[in-house]
C-alpha cells in the first residue's frame, strides 16, 4: 500500500477548509507525494564540542522500507523495515539488527509509515495521537503505546503548516530532544 507512494513532505499546500483532525491532516499530507526529502537532524551530546548535525535524505522504496541516506557526519545508509535495521557503512561494512534495538528509528518508522500511507488506524495502533494548533501551524503529537518503546521515547512531535511537514522533534525519555528539519532534497 505504501510502496510507490512518494513522500509529500515538501508540498506547499493550499489553504484547508476542513476541520483540523487526524484524518483530514493525513489526507492533506498524502495528496501529492514527493520522491525524496532532505533532512538535517541535530543531536546534543556532552561528548561533543558542538551539537552533532546529521544530514541526508529520506525516501521510501518499493518494499515499503524507509531509507535514510546519511551524508554527514559519516556516510552510511540506514534501511528500516518492519522488523530490522540494516546499516551499510561507507567503508563497505554492514550491520543488521532488530528495529526494537533502536527505539528512535522504530518510532520514526511507524510514524512515517502511518503518515505517508494516510493510515490513521495504523498510526493509532502504535501511538496515542493528538492534533493541536490550526492549519497554518499544526502539531501532531505521537506517544508510543508499547511500554517497551515508551521507556525510551516519550513522544514524537511532527510540526507543519498546511500540507507540509516542517520538523520532527523526538523527545527521549532521558530528556534529550532530537530535532529534524526537513527541506528539499539536494
Amino acid at each position: 500500500m505504501i510502496s510507490g507512494i512518494l513522500i509529500s513532505l515538501l508540498l506547499l499546500g493550499q489553504a484547508q477548509e476542513d476541520e483540523l483532525e487526524l484524518g483530514n491532516l493525513l489526507d492533506a499530507l498524502t495528496a501529492e507525494p514527493a520522491a525524496e526529502v532532505g533532512f538535517t537532524e541535530l543531536r546534543q551530546s556532552e561528548l561533543l564540542v558542538d551539537d552533532l548535525e546529521i544530514s541526508g535524505t529520506l525516501r521510501h522504496d518499493e518494499q515499503g522500507r524507509l531509507i535514510r541516506e546519511i551524508h554527514a557526519p559519516e556516510a552510511e545508509t540506514q534501511i528500516l523495515s518492519a522488523s530490522h535495521v540494516e546499516i551499510h557503512r561507507g567503508d563497505g561494512r554492514q550491520r543488521r539488527f532488530r528495529l526494537q534495538r533502536a527505539p528512535e528509528l522504530e518510532v520514526l518508522y511507524h510514524a512515517l509509515n502511518g503518515i505517508l500511507a494516510g493510515d490513521a488506524a495504523a498510526l493509532s495502533k502504535h501511538f496515542d495521537t493528538t492534533v493541536q494548533g490550526e492549519w497554518s501551524a499544526w502539531h501532531l503529537v505521537l506517544r508510543p503505546r508499547a511500554d517497551q518503546l515508551a521507556e525510551s521515547v516519550e513522544r514524537l512531535t511532527v510540526c507543519g503548516s498546511d500540507a507540509r511537514i516542517r520538523q520532527f522533534s523526538l523527545h527521549l525519555a532521558d530528556g534529550e530532544i532530537v530535532r529534524t528539519r526537513l527541506h528539499a532534497a539536494p
Binding site: 556532552e46 561528548l47 561533543l48 552533532l52 546529521i54 557526519p73 540506514q78 527521549l172 534529550e176
Partner: protein, 761 residues
C-alpha cells in the same frame, strides 16, 4: 505339604533380594562405558568428541521448519522460555549482546583481548575509530554515550567480532542461523547447559520433555526440534536399555516358561527351575554392587537377563536326569555341570579383566551369576521337589558324523584367514549402545556450533596452562601461512579468549602511554571534547592492575562452553584444541606442521578411533584365547585324557569358528561384541558337549542326555534369538551371534560320537 512351600518361599525371598539390590544400584548410561580407557592423547580426544568429555552437560538444539525470520524469532522466544526452566543453567542462541555479565567482562579485559594493539593505535586507525563512534552517537545518542566514552577505539565490538568469526554459525540479527545445511533447510542453533550431570538420566529425560513442550507452545506444529549432546544420548540410551531389559525379561521369561512347561508339564518344577536363575541374578547383582561401587551400566543389567538363557540349562539337566524318580537327584550331573560351569566362569573372568568398564561388569556379573546358578542347581534337591513324572521319548535322530564339525570348523578357519583384515570391523560407533544417528547428529551439531572440522583437530599439549597457551599461540601465529598456502581457511583456538600471560603482558606493553593516547585521540577528531574519553584513559592508566585473564574468567558466561571444549586439564597437564576450518588437505597440513616444528599435531579422529578399536579387540582377543587355553587345560586336568578333552572341545570350537566366519561375512565384520558372543556360545556348547559325554549306570542315560541338550538348545537359543531382535546394535549383534553359535553347537554335539564317557563322580 510343608516341603512343597519351600521352593516357592525360596524363590520369593530371592526375588525380593534381587529387587532390593536393583533399587540400590545406580544405573549408569555413559556412552563410553563399553569402550576401553584412552591410551594416549589421540584416543582421549576421540572419547571427548563422542560426548564423555568436558561438554557432559551441554545440549545442542536445532530448530527447523520455517523461514529464516520466523526461526530467528522462534530462537529468541524459546530461549526465553527455556531460560525460565529450573533444570537449565544457561541458554545461548548466539545473542551475546544480551549477556550483561559477558559484556562487562569483555569491557574489563578489552585492553588485552586483541593482538594488534600497534595497528589500532596508529593515527589513521584512531581517526577512523572515532568516525565510527560519531556515527553511533548520531544513531543512538545518549544510549551509547558511556560506551563511546570508555571505548573510543571500539575494542569490545572488535573482540566480539573476533570471537564470532565468519566460519562459526552464521548469525542473523544476532541469532545463530545455519543456512549451509546442504541446502536442505535453515536451522536456528542453540546451546543449553543442563543443571544435571549426564548420568542423572531421569532428570535429563524430563528436561528434554520440557524443552520440547516449550518449543511446541510457541509453534503451531511447523517447527521441528533436533536435540543432541551427552545428556540427550544418556537419556535415550537409558530409555533404550530400560525398554530392552523389560522386553527381554518379559519375552525371554515367557519363552523359557513355555519351553519348560512343554518339557515337563509341572508348575512345581517351574518354580524349582526358577530358583537357580534367581540365585544367579542375585549373585550377579551382589558382585556388581560390591566390585563396582554400586554402579551398573544399563546394558549390563539388560545383558544380565540373558543369564536366563544359559543358567536355565542347569536345572534342565537336573530335571531330565531325575525324571520318574522319587526326588530330584544331582549325582548324575554333578561332574559335567561343575566342569561346564567352572569353564564358563573361567571364560567370563577373562572378560571381566577387560579394560572396558562395561565389559568388565558384564564378565563379573555373568561369572558370579553362573557360579551361583550352578551351586543352586546342585542344592536344589534339598528343597524336596519331586522329579518330573513326564519324559518324552521322541528324539531326533542324527547321523554319527564327527568329521562334519571338524570339517566345518576347518573350513570356517580358512574362510576367516582368507578374509584377512576384512574380517574385523573397526567402526567405533558400532560398539556404542547409542543410536548411530544420534551420535552423528551430536557430532554434526557440535561442530556446527564450534565452527570447526568434524574429523580433524590440531592438538597442543603441555605440562602447564601457561605452556599450553603459549604452544597454542605459537601455532596459531604460524597458521596464517598455512591459510595463505590454501591448506585450510581458518581455525578456532582458545587463545582468542585466554591469551597466555606472556601474550597479555606483551599486549599491555604495546599500548601507548596515557599521555600519548590522549594526544592521539585529541588530534584524531576535533569534534569531541577534551575530556570525552576520560574513562578510557583512566582504564589505560590502571590496566596493569586488572587481574589477568584465566580460563576461570569466562566460567559464568556462555563462552565457558567454548573455553571448556577447547582447553582441557588432563592427568599429565593441559591440552588445547585448535579446530581447523575448511581443511582441504590434511596430509599437507600435517606435513606443514612437522616441517615448521610447531608444538601442535594434527589428529585424525576417525583413524585414531579405528586404531583404538583394533588394538582393544587385539587385547580382548588375547584374553579370550587365554580363556580357551585355560578351559582346555582345566578339562585335561580333570579328565587326564587328552583325546577326550579334544573330543569334548571339538563341537563347541568348531561351532565358534563357524559362527565367527558367518557373522564376519553377514554382519559387516567382527567387533569385540561378536567375540564375546562367540565365547558365550562356546561356553553353552561346551556344556552340551560335556553332558553328551556323561556316562551313567542308568540304561536310558544317553536318551535323557539327548533330551536335556535338546531342551537347553531350544531355550538358550530362543532367549538369545529374542535378544537378537533388540533395537540396540550391541545387543542385536550379541543375540544373533550366540543364537547361531548355540544352534551350531547343538548340531555339532549331536553329530559327534560319545564313546569316551565322563564319570559321574
Amino acid at each position: 505339604m510343608k516341603r512343597s512351600w519351600a521352593p516357592l518361599l525360596t524363590l520369593v525371598l530371592l526375588a525380593t533380594l534381587a529387587v532390593l539390590l536393583i533399587a540400590r544400584l545406580q544405573v549408569d548410561h555413559r556412552i563410553d562405558a563399553f569402550l576401553p580407557p584412552p591410551a594416549d592423547t589421540h584416543q582421549a580426544m576421540v572419547m571427548d568428541q563422542i560426548g564423555s568429555g568436558a561438554g557432559g552437560r551441554l545440549i545442542f538444539a536445532a530448530i527447523s521448519g520455517a523461514e529464516p525470520d520466523r526461526l530467528v524469532e522462534a530462537s529468541r522466544q524459546v530461549a526465553d522460555k527455556w531460560r525460565s526452566l529450573a533444570s537449565v543453567v544457561r541458554v545461548n542462541n548466539g545473542e551475546l549482546s544480551q549477556e550483561q555479565e559477558l559484556l562487562e567482562l569483555l569491557d574489563t579485559h578489552r585492553l588485552v583481548l586483541l593482538p594488534d594493539i600497534e595497528s589500532r593505535t596508529e593515527p589513521a586507525a584512531v581517526k577512523s575509530a572515532l568516525a565510527e563512534r560519531l556515527s553511533e552517537l548520531a544513531l543512538a545518542g545518549s544510549r551509547v554515550r558511556d560506551r563511546v566514552r570508555s571505548d573510543p577505539l571500539g575494542l569490545v565490538q572488535a573482540v566480539a567480532e573476533r570471537l564470532a568469526p565468519s566460519h562459526a554459525p552464521e548469525t542473523r540479527d544476532g541469532v545463530w542461523l545455519d543456512t549451509r545445511n546442504n541446502g536442505d533447510s535453515n536451522r536456528a542453533l542453540l546451546m543449553i547447559v543442563s543443571a544435571h550431570p549426564p548420568f542423572a538420566t531421569a532428570e535429563q529425560a524430563r528436561l528434554i520433555d520440557q524443552l520440547q513442550q516449550r518449543l511446541a507452545s510457541i509453534s503451531s506444529g511447523e517447527l521441528d526440534l533436533t536435540l543432541a549432546g551427552a545428556p540427550v544420548i544418556a537419556a535415550d540410551s537409558a530409555e533404550r536399555a530400560r525398554t530392552a531389559s523389560i522386553r527381554l525379561s518379559v519375552f525371554g521369561g515367557l519363552f523359557v516358561l513355555v519351553v519348560l512347561l512343554w518339557a515337563w508339564r509341572s508348575p512345581a518344577l517351574l518354580v524349582a527351575g526358577a530358583i537357580p536363575l534367581a540365585t544367579g541374578v542375585v549373585c550377579g547383582l551382589l558382585t556388581v554392587t560390591l566390585l563396582f561401587d554400586g554402579r551398573i551400566h544399563g546394558l549390563t543389567l539388560a545383558f544380565g537377563f540373558t543369564l536366563l538363557g544359559v543358567a536355565i540349562d542347569y536345572p534342565v539337566h537336573l530335571f531330565t536326569h531325575s525324571a520318574r524318580r522319587a526326588a530330584l537327584d544331582a549325582r548324575d550331573i554333578r561332574a559335567p555341570l561343575l566342569l561346564g560351569a567352572a569353564s564358563t566362569v573361567i571364560a567370563y573372568l577373562a572378560v571381566s579383566a577387560s579394560a572396558s568398564p562395561g565389559l568388565a561388569q558384564m564378565g563379573a556379573f555373568s561369572a558370579a551369576g553362573l557360579a551361583g546358578a550352578a551351586a543352586a542347581t546342585l542344592l536344589l534337591p534339598r528343597l524336596g521337589t519331586r522329579g518330573p513324572t513326564y519324559l518324552p521319548q521322541r528324539n531326533w535322530k542324527f547321523p554319527n558324523a564327527a568329521w562334519l564339525p571338524a570339517a566345518a570348523g576347518g573350513l570356517a578357519l580358512i574362510v576367516l584367514a582368507g578374509l584377512g583384515a576384512e574380517r574385523w570391523s573397526n567402526d567405533l560407533t558400532r560398539l556404542s549402545p547409542v543410536d548411530a544417528d544420534l551420535i552423528q547428529a551430536d557430532i554434526e551439531l557440535r561442530r556446527q556450533l564450534g565452527g570447526g572440522d568434524v574429523r580433524y583437530l590440531l592438538v597442543a599439549s603441555a605440562d602447564s596452562l601457561e605452556n599450553v597457551l603459549r604452544a597454542t599461540e605459537d601455532t596459531v601465529n604460524q597458521l596464517d601461512d598455512a591459510v595463505d598456502q590454501g591448506l585450510l581457511s581458518g581455525w578456532q583456538a582458545v587463545s582468542d579468549l585466554v591469551p597466555s600471560r606472556r601474550e597479555q603482558q606483551r599486549r599491555l606493553a604495546a599500548w601507548p602511554s596515557t599521555e600519548r593516547m590522549a594526544g592521539l585521540l585529541d588530534r584524531a577528531d576535533a569534534r569531541f571534547t577534551a575530556d570525552a574519553f576520560a574513562p578510557f584513559l583512566e582504564d589505560l592508566a590502571t590496566a596493569a592492575e586488572t587481574p589477568p585473564i584465566t580460563p576461570q574468567t569466562w566460567q559464568t558466561t556462555p563462552l565457558a562452553t567454548q573455553v571448556n571444549a577447547l582447553l582441557t586439564q588432563t592427568p599429565q597437564g593441559w591440552r588445547s584444541i585448535i579446530a581447523p576450518v575448511g581443511l582441504d588437505d590434511p596430509a599437507g597440513l600435517a606435513e606443514w606442521l612437522s616441517a615448521g616444528q610447531l608444538p601442535a599435531e594434527l589428529i585424525d579422529l576417525r583413524a585414531t578411533s579405528e586404531i583404538m578399536v583394533a588394538s582393544w579387540r587385539r587385547d580382548a582377543g588375547i584374553s579370550l584365547a587365554a580363556a580357551l587355553a585355560l578351559i582346555a587345560a582345566f578339562l585335561w586336568l580333570q579328565t587326564r585324557k587328552p583325546a577326550l578333552t579334544a573330543r569334548i572341545m571339538l563341537p563347541p570350537l568348531a561351532a565358534a569358528a563357524c559362527t565367527a566366519a558367518v557373522m564376519s561375512l553377514a554382519d559387516g565384520g567382527l567387533t569385540i561384541v561378536h567375540l564375546v558372543g562367540v565365547l558365550l556360545a562356546a561356553g553353552v556348547g561346551l556344556d552340551f558337549s560335556l553332558f553328551a559325554h556323561l556316562r551313567s549306570d542308568h540304561r536310558d542315560q544317553s536318551s535323557r542326555t539327548r533330551h536335556a541338550v535338546n531342551i537347553c538348545a531350544l531355550s538358550t537359543g530362543g532367549v538369545f534369538l529374542i535378544l537378537g531382535q533388540s533395537q540396540i546394535g550391541m545387543l542385536r549383534m550379541l543375540g544373533l551371534t550366540v543364537a547361531l553359535g548355540v544352534l551350531l553347537s547343538w548340531i555339532f554335539t549331536r553329530l559327534s560320537r560319545t564313546e569316551c564317557p565322563l564319570h559321574p563322580t
